[in-house]
Symmetry: C2
Subunit: 170 residues, 2 copies
């Protein structure tokens, strides 16, 4: 909080006039990024995709390009979640929203009869949601040195191979 106040050119106490806790500040920051970076617009291609496969691809692309932009805040929020209830709830909320996107993509596949018979819809959603986690992005890009493009490409092809049936089911 001291550092942030300094960077903002105000005192720590003035910062508390705007955000009564550290968690509140971080949460507000995520909302601010969403607005500034026009996150909603980026999801349009996914929502309007013609086929399940396209929807899956578009969703992964949107999410992959979103992660780096919230990564710093996300990391702070995640590490606060261990000890801070407000932060934990806020992050869980984010993740629930992200999961809805996964669920929608998997369901679009299912409606096209293109969901792999290996997984139930719930299992597929669980798995996709886990695969696309911020931690996995960190692991591949930051720790393994993958480029953003390689991350997105790999995730797209991986999701296809895991979740798309070889032939239409039934």
């Amino acid at each position: 909080m001291t550092d942030i106040a300094k960077r903002a050119g105000i005192t720590r106490q003035a910062l508390y006039l705007h955000f009564s806790t550290r968690a509140e500040l971080l949460i507000a920051s995520t909302h601010h990024v969403d607005v500034v970076r026009a996150v909603d617009e980026r999801l349009v291609p996914s929502r309007t995709a013609a086929t399940g496969i396209e929807r899956l691809d578009a969703y992964i692309d949107a999410w992959a390009s979103y992660i780096p932009e919230i990564h710093g805040i996300a990391k702070a929020l995640i590490s606060m979640s261990d000890t801070d209830d407000a932060a934990s709830v806020a992050w869980a909320d984010r993740m629930r929203a992200m999961r809805q996107g996964c669920d929608a993509a998997i369901n679009a596949l299912r409606k096209d009869k293109m969901l792999s018979p290996h997984y139930s819809p719930k299992q597929a959603t669980d798995l996709l949601w886990t695969l696309l986690s911020v931690r996995n992005w960190e692991s591949l890009t930051i720790e393994c040195g993958w480029s953003q493009k390689r991350y997105a490409d790999t995730m797209r092809s991986l999701a296809r191979r895991l979740f798309v049936a070889e032939q239409p089911t039934h």
Copy 2:
């Protein structure tokens, strides 16, 4: 530290006589678990596997059964890693050892000419290492409610589908 001392029936200060920092205590705990739970022995099936595919399966099984046993300590170590250098180094070390196992499994596949042409060995190792992360285990078992068995089964089949070539290469 206060809580741990209480549970151990000694004072906080006495605890510091044994472990000079919190990080040191956690690191010692992981070593202790390794000994008590005979972790090395569990890796024997993987090391002695006849084929690459068997090695991959055996490694995933060994790791999957290991995670729940160190999960508590791992979580503490991971969350300390953000702020504590010693913890960060210790956890990175663990993960490097785990990565070697992934690398060995992928290489065994490659030697059998059964590594999927989709990935270079390095990429495959990166991906397997990321997929098997403690965070992903947490996500699937704790957050999504998967049983330990389902986790292990899914990871095994997923790794096969991702990394094992349909036909021998060349």
